[in-house]
């Protein structure tokens, strides 16, 4: 698989990073990451948004994926809007990411075999704390995907 011109444009600020390049971006697009929403929802949601934006190709969600979005979720994380209230996390996340990055598949199909797992256990109560903790975990997953030694 090669990157399309649209993908090269979309991920250009990744591709020019010395540790990423086209090979690293292809690894991100091929990666399958399991994201557990049963703990630390706000920070996990932050991490999911940054992983999906970075082009991590498949995100398997588990935990409270059918939980309806509430006002509290909007106030404590970054991914939802008022018109998501009442719809399930997985539906709202799929809608958001379809609108911003069609390279990404969000699924609850746990029969897929993930290469990486995102599990955050510390609870956060504010957007700022969710940004820091979710950002750290997303960065950790992205770094480990782009630096694996095998070919994509």
């Amino acid at each position: 698989m090669t990157l399309s011109p649209t993908q090269i444009e979309r991920y250009s600020r990744h591709i020019i990073l010395p540790n990423v390049g086209g090979v690293g971006q292809q690894r991100l697009l091929n990666a399958i990451v399991h994201c557990d929403l049963s703990t630390s929802k706000s920070a996990t949601l932050v991490a999911i948004v940054y992983l999906a934006s970075a082009g991590v190709g498949t995100l398997i969600l588990s935990g409270d994926v059918h939980h309806p979005v509430t006002h509290h979720d909007i106030e404590t994380s970054i991914c939802f809007e008022l018109n998501d209230i009442g719809t399930s996390y997985i539906t709202a996340l799929t809608t958001k990411m379809t609108a911003s990055n069609p390279d990404v598949t969000i699924t609850s199909n746990e029969s897929l075999h993930p290469h990486h797992r995102l599990i955050i256990t510390d609870e956060t109560h504010t957007i700022q704390d969710a940004l820091i903790l979710g950002g750290q975990h997303a960065l950790s997953v992205i770094t480990s995907i782009v630096t694996v030694t095998q070919q994509p």
Binding site: E9, H14, Y50, T126, I127, Q128, G135, Q136, A138, T143
Partner: protein, 239 residues
Amino acid sequence: MVNNLIPSIAIVLSLTNKRVVIVGAGGLGGPISYGLAACACHLTLCDNDTVALSNLHRQIQFQLSDIGTLKTTALCNTLIQRGINADKLIHHAIRCTADNTDLWLDGADLIIDASDNFETKFMVNDLSVAAQIPCLITSSLRYCGQILAVIPGKTGCYRCLFEAPPHNEFIDNCNTGGIVGAVLAIVAGIAVQQAQQLLTNDYTDAGTLFHFDNLEETITPRKIQFEQRHDCLACGDRS
């Protein structure tokens, strides 16, 4: 770093009438505005740029249908869709300079530099010192992040530490040096924490440069303390 207290009603009330000017509506300005809007601050958002496809890997407030739209307009729309009252938001499609402060600095209790260039960072610092308004200078590149809170008259400033913008040939920004989007989330989160401190007269972290260069340092950023310089061109005795 993670605060386990729910933001108290007292903090939200004390921030309700504060106005924060955010210079830059991109990868840092987006999540910073989410955090401060949730604290009920009034926001002035400034940026003269439009949304491009190459922004979407890190500027999570935008989507494909925003491409070509002014970043300030698209960000305001997203904030309103998140339930923020439009009366709390002012936006200007301008590049902030020292010559057009009448357009963007009005009523500021805090200025946050969330721009991608040194010229603007030094401009925000110098104006902050001259107008005696606290500022936060934020930046990120590749895997690195920096945050500095400046309180004029109480701490050293950005120019005390860095003196002057680097020469053009040494300058990288996200467009030339690259960036991992998740780094911006971390810088933005720390910036919102420090903005809350400044707006409630808590000077714990002011005047200390927070810096991280790798994943481990994001958990405990390096804290670089420095003195106010008497010969600083912005805040020194001879300025």
